[in-house]
C-alpha cells in the first residue's frame, strides 16, 4: 500500500550528489512529490527533505540505499504523524484588483496570509501552510487573476527525539580517534 513518507538526508556539500540521490528514486520509477535542499544547522552539512509516496517496504530499503551513498551522512524516513511540516507559497496579483474589491483583503486575512510588497502594478502575498491550504488560497484568489504562483517543497521537523546529527558526528570522530 502506498503511503506518504518524508525522507530526510544529511549529506556533505558535494557536486552531483543530488543526481546520485535522485537516481535511487528513478531506478525504482518513484515519483518525487517535493524536494528541498539547503544547508543544515551544521556548517557544510546539507539537508535534503524529500516527499515520496510508496509502500513502507520500499521506503525502508530506499533509505538504506541512500545512506549507503558515500557522501550521505545519514538518511531517515518519517511518517506524516511523526513530523510537523510547512510549505511556503507566494502569489502575485495586479494591485488594481486589490483596490477594486473589498473581499480580497478579507481573503488574505482569513487565510493568515500576509502582504510582502505592494507597488503600483502588483501585490505579492505570502502564505505558510500545508499544500491543501496554499492551494485553497490560490483557488480563492483565482477570480482576481493570479499572475504568478509558486510553492516551495516541504520543510519538516520531527516530533520524536531522534539522535542529533551533531552528536552522531561527535561519536564518529571519537570512535575514529580510538
Amino acid at each position: 500500500m502506498n503511503e506518504e513518507y518524508t525522507i530526510t538526508i544529511f549529506s556533505e556539500n558535494s557536486i552531483g550528489l543530488l543526481n546520485r540521490i535522485s537516481i535511487n528514486f528513478t531506478k525504482r520509477k518513484l515519483n518525487i512529490d517535493s524536494l528541498i535542499v539547503s544547508e543544515s544547522a551544521i556548517p557544510g552539512v546539507f539537508k535534503f527533505i524529500i516527499v515520496v509516496c510508496c509502500p513502507q517496504n520500499t521506503v525502508e530499503i530506499l533509505v538504506k540505499q541512500l545512506e549507503k551513498q558515500i557522501d550521505v551522512i545519514r538518511a531517515f524516513y518519517l511518517k506524516k504523524e511523526d513530523i510537523l511540516y510547512q510549505e511556503l507559497a507566494l502569489y502575485k496579483l495586479a494591485t488594481e484588483s486589490l483596490l477594486e474589491s473589498n473581499e480580497m483583503e478579507t481573503i488574505i486575512r482569513q487565510h493568515n496570509a500576509r502582504i510582502l510588497e505592494i507597488t503600483k502594478e502588483h501585490i505579492i502575498i505570502e502564505k505558510t501552510g500545508h499544500k491543501s491550504e496554499t492551494q485553497e488560497l490560490f483557488e480563492k484568489l483565482k477570480p482576481y487573476e493570479v499572475k504568478q504562483f509558486v510553492r516551495t517543497g516541504r520543510v519538516a521537523i520531527t516530533r520524536p527525539d531522534i539522535e542529533l546529527l551533531s552528536e552522531y558526528l561527535k561519536g564518529l570522530e571519537q570512535e575514529h580517534r580510538k
Binding site: G16, I23, E60, K64, E67, I70, D71, V72, H176
Partner: protein, 573 residues
C-alpha cells in the same frame, strides 16, 4: 625511495602517478587517446615502477583489472581517455558494481574550460557512471589529485568493495601542483564496517545452539573479507553443512566433508532442497540474489534466518531475516564461533547423501560418463580437474560453459573461480583471465569460454601475446548461444531465434594468426591428452573443444519456481 609526505612541485600527471605508487599500485590496465596523452607521456618516466598493460579495447582493460583484483585481493586500476574511451569502460564498471570488485578507473576529460560545450570527445562520464559506481569524482584542480586518489582507494577497497571512477580534465593533468600523499583512513560520511554488536552475536549464537537442522550459505563476502579460515573454523566447530553461492565458490575446498555444493538456479540438489527444509539458515556474506532464492515467496519460509553482512542496504532487502550481524565477516565469524557449542549435525548426512545419489544418477553420471555421442561440457571440466589437480584459477565467460564450470570445477584454494555473477557479462572471461594471470604469475589460469562470449572480447588475444602470458583458453564450442538456446528449448517451445553460431571462425587458425599454440579436439579419447598438452604448455594455448550442440545444464530451477522444484532433464525420457 620517493618521500610521499614532503610537498614537491610536479605536474598533475606526475602527481597522479606518484599517488598510485604511494597507494601501492604497480599494475595498470589501459588504453591511450587524446585527452589522456599528458598522462601517458609521464608514464614513460615511471616504467620501472608502474607496469602498464595495453589491452586491445577499454572493455578488456576494465575486465582485466577486475580479474586482477578478484584473483589477488588488490585493487585493480585502469586508464581510459575521454568520450568513447570512457564509455567503453561502462560494462565493466557495472559488472564490478554488481560483483563488489574493487577497481579504480581514471578517465581523462576535455579541458575544464571546455566542460559542458559538447567539445570533441566530451562525454559526461561522471553523470553516465553515477548509478554504477560506488563513488565518482571529477578533478579540475591538480592540487586535489593526491587526496582524491587516496580517498578513491579507500572507498573502492573498504566495506563492501566496488568501482570508483575519477575523471580528470586535461588541463589538470598538465598544470603544476603541490604533491604530497597521505593515505585516507576515515571519511565521516562513510562507515565501511561498523563495530559489531555483541548482543547480536550472542543472539545469533543462541539460535545456532538451539537449531536442529541448520544450514550455512556463504557468498563472496567470505572471499572479499579474507575470512576463509574464519569460515572453516565456524563450520567445523558448529558441524553445520554448508553451501556456496556462485561467487562464493572456492572460499571453501570442495573436498571438505561439510561442503555440500552450490545453491541457486543450477545449484546442487541437496543444498537447494535443504534451503526449503532447514530450521535455520545462516547466510554469510551473500545477498539473496534472485538466482539463489528462486521464488522468494517460497524461499526458506520454514527457517529462522541469520544474516552476516557488511552492507546495511542488503539486510532485509530481499528476505526478511530474524537476526542480522552487521559487519565484516572476518570479525563477526570468530565472535560467533567462540560462543557456540561444539555441534554435530551428522544426522543430516543421509539426506545429503540421498540427494547426491539422485543428482549423480539423474544428471551427473549421464553428463560425465556418456557412452556415445559428442563430448559434453561436463567431461571437459571433469578432465580439467584431474589434469590440474584442482589447482588452477578457473575464469569463465557467461552461459552454459559458466554454469557447468561452476557446477563441476573443483578447488582447493580460494580466489580460484572468477566469473561474472551479478551482471552476467558475456565477454568477461578472456580479459579477466589476462588480469588474473598478470596478478598471479605463478598460478595456472584457465579461461573457459563459450564460442559466443569468446567472440565478444577475442581481441584480447593480442594482449596475451604482447605480454607473453601463459593463459590457457578452452573454447567450449557448441555452435550456439547455448544458454539462450536452452531456454528457448525448455521455455519457448523449442523455437530457436537468433541463437545459432554457424558462422564461427576456425578458432585454431585464428589462434595461429596470433601465433598462439592451438588445437581442436572432437573425440572423447583425445580429450585428456589435449587438455594435458594445453595445461602443461609453457605459453598461451587455445584448445577448441567441439561439443554436442544441444547439451543442457541441469538441474535447473525454472524462473518463478522454488529452489526445490528443479528440473533434471530426464522428465520426458
Amino acid at each position: 625511495m620517493q618521500d610521499h609526505t614532503k610537498s614537491q612541485k610536479v605536474t598533475g600527471s606526475e602527481a597522479l602517478l606518484l599517488s598510485l605508487i604511494a597507494a601501492n599500485v604497480d599494475t595498470i590496465f589501459g588504453y591511450p587517446g587524446g585527452a589522456i596523452m599528458p598522462l601517458y607521456d609521464k608514464l614513460l618516466n615511471f616504467s620501472n615502477r608502474l607496469r602498464h598493460i595495453l589491452t586491445r579495447h577499454e572493455q578488456g582493460a576494465i575486465h582485466a583489472a577486475q580479474g586482477y583484483a578478484r584473483s589477488t585481493g588488490k585493487t585493480g586500476v585502469c586508464f581510459a581517455t575521454s568520450g568513447p574511451g570512457a564509455t567503453n569502460l561502462i560494462t565493466g564498471i557495472a559488472d564490478a558494481m554488481a560483483d563488489s570488485t574493487p577497481v579504480v578507473c581514471f578517465t581523462a576529460q576535455v579541458g575544464s574550460m571546455l566542460l559542458g560545450t559538447d567539445a570533441f570527445q566530451e562525454t559526461d562520464v561522471v553523470g553516465v557512471s553515477m548509478p554504477i559506481t560506488k563513488w565518482n569524482y571529477q578533478i579540475t584542480n591538480p592540487n586535489e589529485i593526491p587526496a582524491i586518489i587516496a580517498k578513491a582507494f579507500y572507498i573502492a577497497s573498504n566495506g563492501r568493495p566496488g568501482p570508483v571512477l575519477i575523471d580528470i580534465t586535461k588541463d589538470a593533468l598538465i598544470k603544476d601542483c603541490d604533491y604530497s600523499y597521505t593515505p585516507c583512513n576515515y571519511i565521516r560520511s562513510y562507515v565501511p564496517s561498523p563495530a559489531i554488536k555483541e548482543e547480536k552475536v550472542k543472539w545469533a549464537a543462541d539460535i545456532i545452539n538451539a537449531a536442529k537442522k541448520p544450514m550455512i550459505v556463504f557468498g563472496q563476502g567470505v572471499i572479499l573479507g579474507h575470512a576463509e579460515k574464519e569460515l572453516l573454523e565456524f563450520v567445523e566447530k558448529s558441524g553445520i553443512p554448508c553451501a556456496s553461492t556462485m561467487l562464493g565458490l572456492s572460499a571453501m575446498p570442495n573436498n571438505h566433508p561439510l561442503y555440500k555444493g552450490m545453491v541457486g538456479m543450477h545449484g546442487n540438489v541437496g543444498p537447494n532442497r535443504m534451503s526449503n527444509q532447514c530450521d535455520l539458515l545462516i547466510a554469510i556474506g551473500m545477498r539473496f540474489d534472485d538466482r539463489v532464492t528462486g521464488d522468494v515467496a517460497r524461499y526458506a519460509k520454514q527457517a529462522k534466518i541469520i544474516h552476516l553482512e557488511i552492507d546495511k542496504a542488503e539486510i532485509n532487502k530481499i528476505v526478511k531475516v530474524d537476526v542480522w550481524v552487521r559487519g565484516d565477516v572476518k570479525e563477526s565469524l570468530p565472535m560467533i564461533t567462540k560462543l557456540i557449542n561444539k555441534g554435530d549435525h551428522s544426522d543430516m548426512e543421509p539426506f545429503f547423501a540421498e540427494c547426491e545419489a539422485e543428482e549423480m544418477r539423474r544428471v551427473i553420471n549421464p553428463l560425465l560418463n556418456p557412452k556415445e555421442g559428442k563430448i559434453t561440457m561436463g567431461e571437459v571440466i571433469d578432465t580439467l580437474n584431474k589434469v590440474s589437480a584442482e589447482q588452477a584459477i578457473v575464469v569463465t565467460d557467461v552461459g552454459q560453459q559458466q554454469m557447468i564450470s561452476a557446477r563441476y570445477a573443483r578447488f582447493q584454494n580460494s580466489r580460484s573461480f572468477l566469473s561474472s555473477g551479478g551482471l552476467g557479462t558475456m565477454g568477461f572471461g578472456l580479459p579477466a583471465a589476462v588480469g588474473a594471470q598478470i596478478g598471479c604469475p605463478n598460478r595456472k589460469v584457465v579461461a573457459i569460454l563459450g564460442d559466443g562470449g569468446f567472440q565478444m572480447t577475442m581481441q584480447e588475444l593480442g594482449t596475451i601475446i604482447q605480454e607473453k602470458l601463459p593463459v590457457k583458453v578452452i573454447i567450449m564450442n557448441n555452435s550456439y548461444l547455448g544458454n539462450v538456446r536452452q531456454w528457448q528449448e525448455l521455455f519457448f517451445n523449442h523455437r530457436y531465434s537468433s541463437v545459432a553460431m554457424n558462422s564461427n571462425p576456425d578458432f585454431v587458425r585464428l589462434a595461429s594468426a596470433y601465433n598462439i599454440d592451438a588445437e581442436m579436439v572432437n573425440k572423447r579419447e583425445d580429450l585428456k591428452s589435449a587438455i594435458e598438452r594445453m595445461y602443461n604448455s609453457e605459453s598461451a594455448y587455445i584448445l577448441e573443444v567441439q561439443l554436442e550442440e544441444e547439451g543442457n545444464v541441469f538441474p535447473i530451477v525454472p524462473l518463478g519456481k522454488a529452489t526445490d522444484e528443479m528440473l533434471y532433464g530426464d522428465e520426458n525420457k
